[in-house]
């Protein structure tokens, strides 16, 4: 992919040097071993999990407290530098890619679970706590943190807040915004504020809600109060197989229309099902046109009735078979197939581009068909494994990164997928966010006036456009005027 070529090449001409006074002040404010200026570290922090290159990192700071974040912010203000917050760097939309050699603020060392209150049902955590680590920490208490993005083993709660992350189980439980009650934020002014609160209906505007999903452009979260969810007493999981993805898609809408909101409904198409089965041997039918993994949770009797009803709907819709997991072991095996999907893709192609749009459930079948056509048109194999329950498509475009000009084709196909999704009444992103990936598509969904109002929210938090400039809003509406961004072209990808 030549991922580092851009960064290493550009590095020589970029403006920050170790003797830069910014670096000396950062070292004073933090500690010598928590400010990295060496080329290796900075080249690595120019990337996240996305395919986008063109990032250039300035000094990389590892902060350990809100006071340190404030100190870094004030140094940035004094020197008129931009800052980019970063968690684990597992984002897929390029939200953490530093544009214009900003100060990168890594919250990865702020990784303590500060307090768990089972009466308030709130856990206070630092932003660098890993999503799955929190759930693991809560397990002995009988609780979990509900948002479970596929990267949950590595991504941080701070990153979840920035991206308003989802996951398979947000169909019933909601996304991160539904599970954050309060956030301590260091504003781009350097001030520390608490947004929201543990109380039932905090006073004032819902700035907590506005901050979640801000992709690091509104400030840096330094302490987060998240809701903790009691573990369900009963979980039932069923694998339903179909002749075609279209039939599977129609079953999804029928289940919801019947008044059942499963904990998760995950779909895999023919190609991915076959690849998964050959890879993890979960007992998926090799000849199915598509499979749905349906999970309900709750109480014993209700979940049993729900599963019976879902089975009836499946058969009425023409499902070929329904396999209800008999025990925890079989349940784990069925999920192993779903969770091993990306690994299975690695067995059939050297690389993939994972897309993310949402469409109405009723349009799933049509949009899926269009997605396959788009793949064929651009000569890119497409496989689909996605959160069908809430219409959240994740087409994977398969390619070999060493093929010249391939990324242009991949991005063209991606744009086409966005267009068919919006035409069907959907949205640009269900859980990955906008970042640099979809920034320039925003006007496909919003008018200039709409975007101008989003920018008003942005500027209320960050009048100088200091925090993560060049993200979310297209250039004509965002902080494109910041000094740093003029020095380095933004949104360049290889």
């Amino acid at each position: 992919m030549g991922v580092l070529r851009g960064a290493f090449g550009r590095r020589r001409s970029q403006p920050v040097l170790p003797q830069d006074p910014v670096v000396a002040e950062l070292v004073d404010a933090l500690a010598p071993d928590r400010v990295r200026m060496d080329s290796a570290e900075r080249a690595l922090f120019a990337h996240d999990a996305s395919v986008f290159t063109g990032g250039v990192s300035g000094p990389v700071c590892f902060v350990t407290s809100a006071a340190e974040v404030q100190a870094v912010m004030r140094i940035a203000i004094r020197h008129d530098r931009a800052i980019v917050p970063r968690g684990a760097g597992t984002g897929l939309a390029g939200g953490a890619i530093p544009l214009g050699a900003p100060i990168v603020v890594s919250t990865i060392k702020m990784n303590r679970v500060l307090e768990v209150d089972t009466v308030d049902r709130v856990a206070w955590v630092e932003p660098g706590v890993v999503n799955l680590d929190l759930t693991r920490y809560l397990r002995p208490l009988g609780y979990h943190f509900a948002p479970d993005p596929s990267s949950q083993q590595a991504c941080t709660i701070g990153g979840n807040v920035a991206n308003n992350s989802g996951g398979p189980h947000c169909l019933a439980y909601g996304v991160t915004s539904n599970h954050v009650v309060a956030i301590d934020v260091v504003l781009p002014s350097g001030e520390l504020v608490t947004l929201g609160g543990v109380d039932a209906e905090p006073d004032g505007y819902d700035l907590r809600g506005a901050f979640v999903g801000g992709e690091g452009t509104l400030g840096i979260a330094t302490r987060i109060g998240v809701r903790i969810t009691p573990n369900p007493p009963v979980v039932r999981t069923m694998l339903v197989s179909f002749d075609s993805a279209e039939v599977a898609a129609s079953m999804v809408g029928d289940v919801i229309a019947a008044g059942i909101v499963p904990a998760a409904m995950e779909m895999m198409d023919r190609e991915i099902t076959r690849a998964v089965e050959n890879f993890v041997h979960a007992g998926y039918p090799l000849d199915a046109g598509a499979v749905l993994l349906v999970e309900v949770d709750g109480q014993d009797e209700g979940t049993r009735l729900d599963m019976e009803r879902i089975t009836e709907i499946a058969h009425a819709d023409g499902a070929r078979s329904c396999r209800l997991a008999a025990d925890e072991e079989e349940r784990a095996l069925l999920w192993k197939g779903r969770k091993g999907a990306f690994g299975a893709v690695a067995q059939i192609a050297p690389a993939y581009y994972l897309h993310d749009t949402v469409v109405p459930r009723a349009a799933l079948a049509d949009v899926l068909r269009a997605v396959y056509e788009i793949g064929a048109r651009h000569d890119l194999p497409v496989v689909n494994v996605f959160h069908a329950g809430d219409g959240n498509l994740h087409p994977l475009l398969l390619f070999d990164p060493r093929e010249p000009g391939i990324m242009e084709r991949v991005h063209e196909a991606g744009k086409d997928i966005v267009e068919v999704s919006l035409a069907a009444g959907g949205t640009l992103s269900g859980e990955h966010g906008i970042g640099v990936e979809k920034r320039d598509y925003m006007s496909m969904m919003f008018s200039d006036v709409d975007l101008e109002h989003q920018n008003r929210l942005r500027r209320a938090f960050d009048p100088a456009c200091r925090a993560n400039p060049g993200k979310v809003l297209p250039a004509s509406h965002s902080c494109a005027d910041i000094q740093a961004l003029r020095q380095v072209p933004t949104g360049v990808w290889a």
């Binding site: 690595l44 397990r139 991504c155 690695a346 050297p350």
Partner: protein
């Protein structure tokens, strides 16, 4: 210079970052350059983009424990172990890493008499309090009776340091195998060392020479059982290391001792009066050596083997994160190794166990030096059988 890594293997990483939290050095530093994703990006920078091998890049590549916990976490199936071993070899060839004293120490491993002589000196020094405790060495026996062959059903691989320092673990393993009805041939000085540490240090030629010697010394089709996870992983990798059909056939005969015993539990338990094991009154935490869990992917049998012989088994809730021992890692990177161990000890304390069972001598020594009572699972089973 380049590292000469297979470009296909290098291209397999898609930078998703799911490996990060499974990497012990990333966990304690938070530095992207101390993560598998970061190290692979640096390898690419050197090999694909001609980036110079700066001291920071060498430090990043050198900081890896080679626990290979990232491999089990990787959804794209990247062979990180191959990448890092190739890298280490290139760096060592270019004399960018692996200092003379480390090379000299590793050389001694292949010479059993030298190793034993050195160990005896060390043991004496320990008795006079001349060896700092922080080095984490176990109490080395002054003398230890040699192991005796009891039959020719299986080989018990005895190796280098472990044979010199912890021969009792071999003795216990042999006793358990015999209780399960097997005649055992300890390999002793015939196969002085598996070469794992040489591989990790980038001394590929030495490692391959040791592999060829082991294959020549242990012909036939008898199973080769190993009670050190690191050695077992190395022996199982000879097929890849040498790339010959003979080496692949050899590797197919290698099993961790717990894998083999787990398949004969009926005979082991059946050998007891009334087929009733008398469990030790202990709550035992299972610590999975990385080279058993992530490399051999054979960490489950130890639970099956231990369960009947102890009061209670408890898991560590850390997804099998490395303890920081890493072969000779805790000698060459003491500071990182200590921080990784502290993290591990936190999880061990949460498990509230009487003792930790670890199927790798290096882990046992490293944890022991951190104040954690650690024993080999074979020692526990032998004790429960009344044979230790």
């Amino acid at each position: 210079m380049t590292l000469g890594i297979d470009p296909d293997e290098l291209a397999a990483c898609v930078q998703c970052g799911l490996c990060l939290t499974h990497c012990p050095t990333f966990r304690v530093t938070g530095d992207e350059s101390q993560s598998p994703r970061g190290r692979i990006a640096l390898m690419r920078a050197v090999d694909n983009d001609g980036a110079p091998l700066t001291p920071e890049i060498v430090e990043a590549l050198d900081g890896c424990v080679v626990c290979r916990g990232c491999e089990t976490a990787c959804p794209s199936g990247v062979h990180y172990g191959h990448l890092i071993e190739r890298t280490r070899e290139a760096l060592a060839d270019a004399h960018r890493t692996t200092p003379w004293w480390e090379r000299a120490g590793l050389e001694a491993l292949a010479h059993p008499r030298l190793l034993r002589a050195g160990s005896a000196v060390l043991a004496g020094a320990q008795r006079f309090g001349l060896v700092p405790r922080r080095l984490g060495l176990p109490r080395i026996p002054l003398r230890s009776a040699p192991l005796q062959a009891s039959g020719d059903d299986v080989y018990l691989f005895t190796g280098c340091v472990m044979d010199a320092w912890q021969r009792d673990v071999h003795r216990h393993g042999q006793a358990v195998l015999e209780a399960a009805g097997a005649g055992v041939t300890p390999t002793g000085d015939r196969v002085p060392c598996c070469g794992a540490l040489h591989s990790h240090a980038g001394l590929g030629d030495r490692a391959r020479a040791l592999a060829r010697r082991a294959i020549a010394e242990l012909p036939g089709d008898r199973p080769i059982l190993v009670d050190s996870a690191g050695c077992g992983a190395a022996l199982k990798d000879y097929g890849h290391l040498l790339g010959t059909p003979e080496a692949r056939a050899f590797s197919a005969r290698v099993f961790d001792i717990t894998e083999w015993v787990a398949g004969r539990m009926d005979r082991l338990v059946g050998s007891l009066p009334d087929a009733q094991p008398k469990p030790l009154d202990l709550r035992v935490a299972v610590q999975d050596p990385c080279h058993l869990r992530h490399v051999q992917r054979a960490h489950l049998p130890v639970r099956q083997v231990l369960a009947p012989f102890v009061r209670e088994l408890v898991e560590l809730d850390d997804d099998g994160l490395c303890c920081g021992a890493g072969g000779a890692y805790f000698v060459v990177q003491p500071e990182l190794a200590r921080r990784i161990r502290e993290r591990k000890i936190g999880y061990i304390e949460r498990a509230k166990a009487d003792v930790v069972a670890s199927a790798n001598p290096g882990c046992g020594m490293h944890l022991g030096a951190g104040g954690v009572p650690t024993v080999h699972p074979m020692t526990l089973v032998a004790r429960a059988l009344g044979r230790a």
